[in-house]
Structures are given as structure tokens and as C-alpha cells.
């Protein structure tokens, strides 16, 4: 169990019979109360397919049903029932040589992190840019790891924007993602990039729509949305 931010934790799971996964896929987690009542939710896989253990990263939603249990109650040694991997579309396959633009909002960064970790694990040189929107510096998930990976200067760059609160001396962006920001961060159109966008619906709608305005080919923009009802 890794506490990533005050509201977000990663669960690291031993998976004896895990069939392997693709970067970007998710799992379904099922929890069962003593009287047999069950609830299920989907969570993105955060770990690289090469990692020996499976990690999922969960944001605690105050009115959620499953996430407060996973983030607050679960203890080391507890068992978790999960199913997966699931989903064959919002996935990055390293054989695809297009430059990558990854745009994440909040915990939408999780499947993008699986792609970044996969890229590092296999020593891929695919040029990759991450644009990551968080409310404040404390809300940035994987902050130290992203900093370390970007410092390797192997073709990964990371740009942050903090939409609500910025620390003194902050030199990143300080607003919602807009046309000017995408103009600075996104790959030029002629490089035919592949774009993954994941986050709350308004962010995804806005970013995908701006990318279309900028002339990117809609099929090259893959999106995954989640609302505050993710539970």
C-alpha cells in the first residue's frame, strides 16, 4: 500500500496467476460484505506489464462505496477479488512507433503511468510527452517518480499544470488545459502523434475537442472518461 497523495493510494497486489496485461487496461474489483452484499468498481492498472506485482491506484471519493474501503480499510495481507485485465482500446503497444502525447487530469494519470512505466521497462525510445493537470502540488500522483523518469532525458518530458493552488516559485502552468498550452506541449501535427487523454469528463471533452480544432486526426485521439460517480 503506497499513499500517493492525501486522497490517493496505490494497492500493490501479489497475483500468482496473472495472465499479463497491456498498458492502459483496467481491472474490476469486487468486494463482499459479511451478509453477501457485493459491490464492484473498475480501476486502472498503474503498473507496467513487466512488474512482478500488479498495482492499481485508487482515489478515495468521499461519497464513494468501494474506494473508501480500498483506501481506508484494506490492510497488508488482505485479499482482494479482481477480474481482468479488461479493455483493448485505450492501450499503448510499444510496436506503435508514433510519438506519444499523454494528457491526464487527476487520477486519470493512472493508465498513462502504466504506459510510461512500460516504456521505461522495455527501454523504448518512443518520444513521449505527459501533460498532467492537478488541483495542487499535493495532489500530484507519482510526483517523485515522474521527476526521476523525466530526468533520465530518454525522450520523456513531463509538464504539470496546477489549476487551484500553486506553491511559491512554481514554474509550471497554473490554469486549466487550453489551446495555448496544448499548442506548446503537443507534438506538431506532421509527426502524426498518438494521443491518450484520461480524466474527468469536462477535461477530456475539452482536450479532445481542442485537439480536433488543432487539426489532429480524430482516430488518433483515444479517450477514457470518468465522472465523480466512479465510487
Amino acid at each position: 500500500m503506497v499513499q500517493e497523495t492525501p486522497r490517493v493510494a496505490s494497492l500493490v497486489l501479489e497475483m500468482p496467476d496473472w495472465p499479463g496485461h497491456l498498458a492502459g487496461q483496467h481491472v474490476d474489483v469486487r468486494v463482499t460484505a459479511e451478509d453477501g452484499y457485493q459491490a464492484e468498481r473498475s480501476y486502472s492498472i498503474a503498473s507496467s506489464p513487466e512488474d512482478s506485482r500488479l498495482a492499481i491506484t485508487v482515489e478515495r471519493l468521499d461519497d464513494g462505496e468501494v474506494s473508501p474501503y480500498l483506501v481506508g480499510e484494506l490492510r497488508i495481507g488482505d485479499k482482494v477479488e479482481l477480474r481482468g485485465p479488461i479493455g483493448g482500446y485505450f492501450v499503448w503497444r510499444p510496436a506503435d512507433e508514433r510519438p506519444l502525447l499523454l494528457v491526464g487530469g487527476g487520477s486519470g494519470v493512472v493508465p498513462l503511468m502504466a504506459m510510461i512505466r512500460h516504456r521505461v521497462a522495455i527501454n523504448s525510445k518512443t518520444p513521449t510527452r505527459l501533460l498532467y493537470s492537478s488541483r495542487s502540488q499535493d495532489d500530484i500522483i507519482y510526483r517523485a517518480e515522474l521527476e526521476r523518469l523525466a530526468a533520465r532525458a530518454d525522450g520523456l518530458t513531463v509538464a504539470h499544470t496546477l489549476t487551484r493552488m500553486q506553491p511559491a516559485g512554481w514554474d509550471g502552468y497554473a490554469r486549466r488545459i487550453d489551446l495555448a498550452m496544448l499548442g506548446e506541449v503537443a507534438w506538431p501535427r506532421h509527426e502524426m502523434p498518438l494521443t491518450f487523454v484520461c480524466g474527468p469528463t469536462p477535461l477530456v471533452e475539452s482536450v479532445a475537442s481542442l485537439m480536433v480544432d488543432m487539426g489532429y486526426d480524430p482516430p488518433s485521439i483515444k479517450t477514457e472518461r470518468f465522472g465523480p460517480t466512479g465510487g
Binding site: D28, R30, V31, T32, A33, E34, Y37, Q38, A39, E40, R41, S42, E65, V66, Y69, E73, L74, R75, D78, K79, V80, E81, R83, I86, G87, G88, Y89, F90, T201, E205, A208, S209, M211, V212, P218, P219, I221, K222, T223, E224, R225, F226, G227, P228, T229, G231
Partner: protein, 201 residues
């Protein structure tokens, strides 16, 4: 095989809503958006809806013609494979029975195809008999593009990915042709009451 999750209680539902809620689903009151790419932009003066494939002569309607078809107002529960269900959603549109009236076809399967390239497949019998509509209003308002406007399919007895947004037409086919999600890990039929979410369910 399920086991007890130590310390999990969960939020309980009243039994009245439980009987309307398929296994593994939970109720939402807002309306989440799920789609795999950018929302297509479809000017109404370029919109058409077509029935094609195994049919003597394809039928097509432009927006003006389509809006002249007899409408129905229906209230349905919808169930998304990502586990949310929304009760009592109100729609206005045209029933598929009306759209297919008089069509003679030997086809047993259909493919819904959309602006933006989305496809999803269904047996023809799941689109007839008062089970499916092409809708263009949600709760009395024009359907928002995020939710599939100008018009989308409504096939509420199946998971909601079987109700294509931004519908452009329906192809009648002799052989079943798995669509977008059906070739990306999701169940070919998608009955929420049998929890047919993924391949192998």
C-alpha cells in the same frame, strides 16, 4: 469464488430499487459520459440516417424528414457496462418498428454505425418488438453531443454500449459482425441481467 472483504459494509439499497438493478450495478443520479474518442461534430443539414445492407432498396432520411416520423416518448432504466445504472431516463424518438416498417429482409443480424466510426452489432430481433428507438431528445431537451446528439440509438434492455451514439445508420447483415467494443474485449451480446460484460461471460 467470492470471499468476505474484512471490514466492508457498503451502502445498502432499498429492496424496491434492488429488483430493478442488474447484478454488479449501482445507481447514479447524474449522467456519466463514456466514449472512446473525440465527440463528432454533425451539422444537422448534413445529417442522414440510413437502413442499408440486405434490403432491396436502402432507406434514408435527412434530419427534416426524420423529424416528421411519428415520435414516441419512453421512460427507461439504462445500464452501463462500467457499472452505473440510471433509472427513469426520458427519451423522445422514433421506434425501430416504425423505421423498419415494411422492410423485407432475410438478414438476422444488424450493425449500428455512427459518425466518428463507432459500430456495434445486434441480432435484428433485439431492435424490433418495441425494444429499440432512434432518439433525439433527453428529458425533453435536444440530445447533447456528448450523449450522442443529434441522434443516438436506445436499446435499453442491453448494456448501453449497444446503444450507439451519433447514429448514422443500420446495416442489415446475414452474418454476425462484432463491432468496436465487441472486438475489444467486451461481450458479443451484453445482457445486463446475465452480467454479460466481457469475453467469456
Amino acid at each position: 469464488m467470492s470471499f468476505i472483504s474484512r471490514g466492508f459494509r457498503g451502502k445498502r439499497r432499498d429492496t424496491a430499487s434492488s429488483s430493478r438493478l442488474p447484478p454488479g450495478q449501482y445507481i447514479v443520479t447524474d449522467y456519466p459520459v463514456l466514449s472512446a474518442g473525440p465527440t463528432p461534430r454533425i451539422p444537422l443539414n448534413e445529417w442522414t440516417f440510413v437502413i442499408e445492407g440486405e434490403i432491396d432498396k436502402p432507406r434514408s432520411w435527412n434530419w427534416e424528414e426524420f423529424r416528421k416520423l411519428p415520435t414516441e416518448q419512453v421512460t427507461k432504466d439504462i445500464h452501463c457496462v462500467t457499472k452505473w445504472s440510471k433509472f427513469d431516463t426520458g427519451w423522445t424518438g422514433v421506434s425501430m418498428d416504425k423505421i423498419l416498417e415494411g422492410v423485407e429482409t432475410a438478414a438476422e443480424y444488424t450493425v449500428q454505425f455512427s459518425y466518428g466510426g463507432y459500430t456495434t452489432n445486434l441480432p435484428l430481433e433485439d431492435l424490433t418488438g418495441g425494444k429499440a428507438w432512434v432518439v433525439y431528445e433527453f428529458d425533453g431537451q435536444p440530445l447533447h453531443p456528448e450523449h450522442g446528439g443529434p441522434a443516438r440509438m436506445l436499446v435499453p434492455h442491453l448494456y448501453f454500449w449497444k446503444s450507439a451514439k451519433w447514429i448514422r445508420g443500420i446495416r442489415l447483415v446475414n452474418e454476425d459482425e462484432p463491432g468496436f467494443w465487441e472486438t475489444n474485449g467486451y461481450h458479443n451480446y451484453g445482457d445486463p441481467w446475465r452480467e454479460q460484460r466481457y469475453w467469456g461471460d
